[in-house]
Every structure is written in structure tokens, then in C-alpha cells.
Amino acid sequence: MSPQDSAKRGARPREGQVPEVVYRWDLDKTYLHTDFSTVRGLIEAAVESAQRRRTIPGMRALLSALSQTFDARVVVVSGSPTFLRQRILAMFALHGIRCDRLVLKDFGAAVRRGRLRSLSAQVPYKLKAHLDTRLWLAARGEDVGEICFGDDAEVDALVYCLYADVCARRVPPARLARLLLQCGAYPDEVAAVMERVSLVAEHDPVRRVFIHLEGNSPPSRYGAYRGRVTATFNAFQIALNLTEEGLADERVLTAVAEELVQEHRVTADGLAGSLEDAARRGLCGLELAQRVAVELLPRTSALDAGFTSIFADRVVKRMGPVSPPVPVGSVLPLPYENLFEAERAFGKARSLARKTAERIPGLSEFLSGDEDL
């Protein structure tokens, strides 16, 4: 049964049934507006109630609609600390999302063992967690395809691609061990990952990797992933791409649009801008873009006629040249060692840029004519 068949049926997850798809999510900056990388962000996350927790616009509707439309498992692997487990589960319950597996980082254990490097190293932790959850799915006989969702704040793109390649045995064990050490893993962590690799079935489960551009990255940053990563600016663009690929249907698309417009006050111009950008970057075809504008959204009773008419008018009148949709499934080898260094350099540069954003060039730079350097 394909997702489309299920979508037509309007299926919901049922106990004991093999799911059609697994949605693998990160939390911080992918689903939630949180910043677990800072002490302040951690404190805010610890004291904030489930009701007050802010999600990334449209993501709640996206995950909720996806998991209600298809027979799906929802797996969440996050670098958030374990003491937030109950609050995160309460939030998912409030959002009407059944989270089947939630993996959080045990900061306490790392501190107790004096492993300070583990606190910041994401690749070894996340790869091991993804493999663990894959084994959990396999043990239940649910060895199905996955759609992965991450963000640009850390190394989600690299981890998801590595996870796919490791499962498919496209990365030799010796290279994987060296790479994990380069990424800050302790030797026993490397051994733990290698053990799980030997247990997981040889099969690439990843159908699509979406990276939410939350941290001021340009889309070109993901060109190095050779078409294996889809960079998106918001949930609407993810929904458009999934619909274009036949991995979601119009209900998902309209649910996301409704949340964006009704709860986050996105204007017709804003939605049109997103749609046009998606079409130009090959996330969806012209046909779908126009269908969304003149057919799907105007049919939605939740959006008023004035809004949908302005939206359709903008899209139909102003749509420029578009790129053909990017083909899915092309798997080219990736230079993980270089990618990791590039990701690390990007993170450092971004942090430096934040610190110097308000800095005014000094007299000596001005008079030397070096301001633009």
C-alpha cells in the first residue's frame, strides 16, 4: 500500500499494523523554537509549560497531518537533555501527535564520567541513536522507509546522510571509525556504533532529508550534499515538496497553510513568496504551484475568500521562471571528512558573525580602507 492509497483512504495509525513510513525528527530548531545549546535556552525549556512552548510555524500542523494521514511511526532523536522528557511528551500529547520513540541526550551520565566532549559532539550521539531506533523498528517488523527532518543549526544533514550510507553499507567500517573519532567520539562510542551497524539490515531506509534553514544559512550551503538534502525555509515548503513527490497529499498542504495563516498571521504575499521560492528552487513543479493557488487553498473553508483571491492573483500574475523538480533518490558518495570540517567552520563563522554583528569598524580599519575585509 502506497502513502497515496492510504491518503485517499484517510487512514490513521492503528495498533498492530505495520506502518508505511517513519518520520524521524529532530526537536530543537526543527520542531521547537528552543535553543538547548545555551544555558538560558535550557532554563527556559525546563520551566516552560507544554502549552506555552513555541513551535516552528507550521511544523505542528505538518507533523500532525502527516501522522494522521498515513500509517506512520514518529521517532524523535534530539540533543535535548533527558530531564525534559515528560515536558516534551506532554507537548506532543497536546499537539495530538503520537510520539512512538523519543531519544534524548543523557548529559548527566556524560558529566559523571567526565566526558565533556560528549556534551557537544553530535555526530556519534545521533548516529548511535538513529541506529538504535532503527533496530527497535526492525525488532517490531517495521523495517520501512523514513523521511528525516532536521535543521541547519548543527550537523543534522551530515548525520542523516551518514545514517543512510551506514545502513546501506556504503561507508566501510574502517572509514566510519576514523570519521567518528574525527567527530569527537570516544573509542567505546565508536565500538558501540560499529556493533549496531553490524546488527542493522543492509538497506537504505532514508527517502528524503529535509533541513529547515533556521540559522541564517543560505540554501547553497547544502549543495555539497549532492542533491541528497532538501533545504527548506518553512513547513509549507516541506509540505509542497512531499506533495510533489507523492509522499503527502493536499490535506497536509492545506493544514500547514491554515496554521501559518491563522496562528502565525502569514500574509498572502508571504505564502506566495514561499510557494514561488519553492518552485524556483525545484521543490515543486509549476503545475502543483498553480493548483495550490487556484484550486487547493481557495477550497479551504478556514481561509477567507479575500486571502485566497489575493494569494492566487499574486502567484498567477507574478510567477517567474521555475526549475524542474529535483529528482529524488540519486545517491552519490559524500566526502564526510571534508563535510564535517566545513560544517564546523560554518558554525564557528556564524558564531563569530553573531558576536561581531554590532561591531562598528574601528578608525584604523576605516583609514586603512580595509572596512570591507
Binding site: 524556483r280 517567474g320 578608525l363 583609514l367
Partner: protein, 358 residues
């Protein structure tokens, strides 16, 4: 007063650093949420540039301008030809209400020609006036040592009526944007006497003295322009353009001289260090290339003309200026001021106050 988010449309064909500097500035504005931005131009070229910078597509849209961007960098003639096709598209968005303000760095004459063709003037307005800021000595009650100079369009002003309208519109701008309750207005002339200057300036002087509600302070000579004697200085378009250009060139020359001194002698460098605070202040007010552009007053829609060599910072400032003009209701204030000009004037309303100039 309008409260909706300001939408700014850019003509991406104009300017020596176009379209890259415009794209970077628009991308930053979109991320900061300063305004909704529309970029009119060669969509394929713009998309290539956008791929290199972070942006928010919910606040940034590309609109086909109908012409390809010239392939050869610095081909200003081809750029102007492309702008002749693309600028009307941007103006159409403005006139149809899809945008609240337009920013262009295309050649001033071309902009004027196309603007007058597509954008209606405020009822009663004879001609639009281009506004520029000029640095002055600090003035009491003013946060920034800047005065408004208009018209700087480069076009010869026809008569006293136009100069009078410029004065009224300049005062409206100073009230709406600079927040001055009673801005002082002066005429740029050859001397302080009401009889100094060409006939249209002499006639304008007489007329400005009679306008109720306008604080006309008399004539200013070019040498007095930077002394901070008036908030608004009115000049013939060609004269204003020349004066503004001279000040800009002088500022560039001063910076170059300071740079030369910095690099040449250690003792001069030490001297500049000691003067660093003053140099910093001078620099802040004299960096013309970073000014956001000159609004054209007297139009029913907001048009900002940026310097042809405007860079990323200037275009970012243009978005901020456009947003301020929109939010503070500049168009309505200008229209009100021009409408009031039609009402009967008071012969004894103003007695010029700049040191015995009446």
C-alpha cells in the same frame, strides 16, 4: 496613519553595484523582518544570487522585470536599457498598491521620465522634488546634525511657484520624518537680501514670507549651508544637485586625504588617533554613499532615488527610510501641506530671522 507591514519594491537594474548589493540588502531586510521586499528584475540572475545568502522567502519575492540583466559588468548603457523595461513593472506594482514604496538607483533622468509617466502627482503639485540630507554643524534641539536640501533632481526649477511648493513639501517632510514641530525653512540664494538671486528666487522669497504656518527664515548663501541655520534649505533643482554633488566630492576628498596622512607619516597617524572622536563624527555624517536615497516629494506614491554607487548599506538604509516614510504618513502630510498652500495667505505671516536678512 498606515500600520500594515511596509512593502518595498526594488528596481534591481539600476546602480553600479546592482543587482548583488540590492539582493544582499533585501535578503537581510527579509530576515530582520524590517519590511516585505519585492525585487523586480531578471529572476534567474536574482535567484542565483539569492542562493548564496540567507533570506526569508515569506518576506522576499522576485517579480519578473521583463529584461535580462546585462552579462557584462559595468555596462551602464545596457543596464539603463534594461531599467527602461523593468522600472515600469516596479512602478506598476507601486501604483496598483502591491508596494508602498519603490527604491531605484537607475539614472535620475530615466527615473524622472518614467515616474512622471506612471505615478500621479499630488493634486496641485507642479513638479516632484528630490530630497537629500546634508551635514551641518550641530543645531539646538536636533538629534542629528543634518539638514534637508531640496530639490536635488538636477532639473532647472521653472518658477517661484515651484520653489514655494518645494519649501512647503520640505517642511512637511521635516515634520513627518524628523519630528520637528516647526521646522525652519531657508532659500539658497546668492545673498541675504530679499532682492538677491535670480527673479524666481526673489519672487519665491516674497511668497514664502506670506505663508501661514511656515517658519521661513530667509536666504542662505552656499557658504552658510553647513552652518546649521535652517532645517530645510530650498534650491533650484540644478543648483541643489550641484551643491549636493560638491559636498559629496568634498567628503570623499577629505577621507582620501586622511587615509593618505594615515599611511604616510607616523606623527600624522598619532595626530589622527588623537582626533579619532572628531573623525568618527565627521565620518558618520559625511558618508553619502550610505544614505538610503532621496525621496521624491509631491508624488501620490513613495519613490526613493538612491545614489548610483549605492552599496548594500545604502540599500538597507533605503528599506528603513521607506518604512519610516510609510509608517509616519509622509504622503498624507505632503498632500495636506500642498492643499493648505492653496488657501489664502497672510501677507504678514513671516518675518525672516537669519541675521538681518529681511
Amino acid at each position: 496613519m498606515p500600520h500594515s507591514r511596509t512593502t518595498v519594491v526594488f528596481d534591481t537594474y539600476g546602480g553600479l553595484q546592482a543587482p548583488a548589493a540590492i539582493v544582499r540588502a533585501a535578503a537581510r531586510a527579509s530576515r530582520e523582518g524590517a519590511a516585505q521586499v519585492l525585487l523586480v528584475g531578471d529572476v534567474a540572475a536574482l535567484q542565483d544570487l539569492l542562493g548564496l545568502v540567507p533570506y526569508d522567502p515569506m518576506r522576499l519575492r522576485l517579480v519578473p522585470g521583463g529584461a535580462a540583466f546585462p552579462r557584462r559588468p559595468g555596462d551602464t548603457l545596457a543596464q539603463a536599457q534594461a531599467a527602461r523595461v523593468g522600472l515600469p513593472v516596479a512602478l506598476q506594482l507601486l501604483v496598483e498598491g502591491e508596494a508602498h514604496a519603490l527604491v531605484t538607483a537607475s539614472p535620475a533622468d530615466l527615473v524622472r521620465e518614467l515616474v512622471l509617466k506612471h505615478v500621479p502627482l499630488v493634486p496641485g503639485c507642479r513638479a516632484p522634488a528630490a530630497v537629500a540630507m546634508v551635514p551641518t554643524l550641530p543645531r539646538a534641539g536636533q538629534d542629528e546634525p543634518l539638514a534637508l536640501l531640496l530639490d536635488v533632481s538636477g532639473r532647472r526649477t521653472v518658477d517661484a511657484e515651484e520653489l514655494t511648493q518645494f519649501a512647503v513639501m520640505g517642511a512637511a517632510y521635516a515634520r513627518a520624518i524628523s519630528g520637528l514641530a516647526e521646522p525652519s525653512v531657508a532659500l539658497l540664494s546668492t545673498g541675504p537680501s530679499p532682492l538677491d538671486g535670480p527673479p524666481e528666487v526673489v519672487a519665491a522669497h516674497q511668497k514664502l514670507r506670506t505663508i501661514k504656518g511656515l517658519r521661513f527664515v530667509g536666504n542662505l548663501r552656499a557658504t552658510e549651508l553647513s552652518r546649521g541655520l535652517a532645517d530645510v534649505v530650498v534650491a533650484d533643482g540644478l543648483v541643489g544637485h550641484t551643491v549636493h554633488g560638491l559636498l559629496e566630492g568634498l567628503a570623499d576628498m577629505t577621507v582620501e586625504a586622511a587615509r593618505y596622512a594615515w599611511k604616510t607619516k607616523m606623527t600624522w597617524r598619532v595626530g589622527l588617533r588623537l582626533l579619532s572622536q572628531g573623525v568618527g563624527m565627521l565620518r558618520k555624517v559625511s558618508e553619502f554613499k550610505d544614505y538610503g536615497g532621496a525621496p521624491l516629494l509631491g508624488l501620490q506614491h513613495l519613490v526613493l532615488v538612491a545614489n548610483p554607487d549605492a552599496g548594500e548599506m545604502a540599500f538597507e538604509n533605503a528599506v528603513k527610510l521607506a518604512t519610516t516614510c510609510h509608517r509616519k504618513g509622509l504622503l498624507a502630510e505632503t498632500a495636506r501641506a500642498l492643499q493648505a498652500l492653496d488657501t489664502p495667505s497672510d501677507p504678514a505671516a513671516n518675518s525672516p530671522a537669519i541675521g538681518g536678512r529681511a
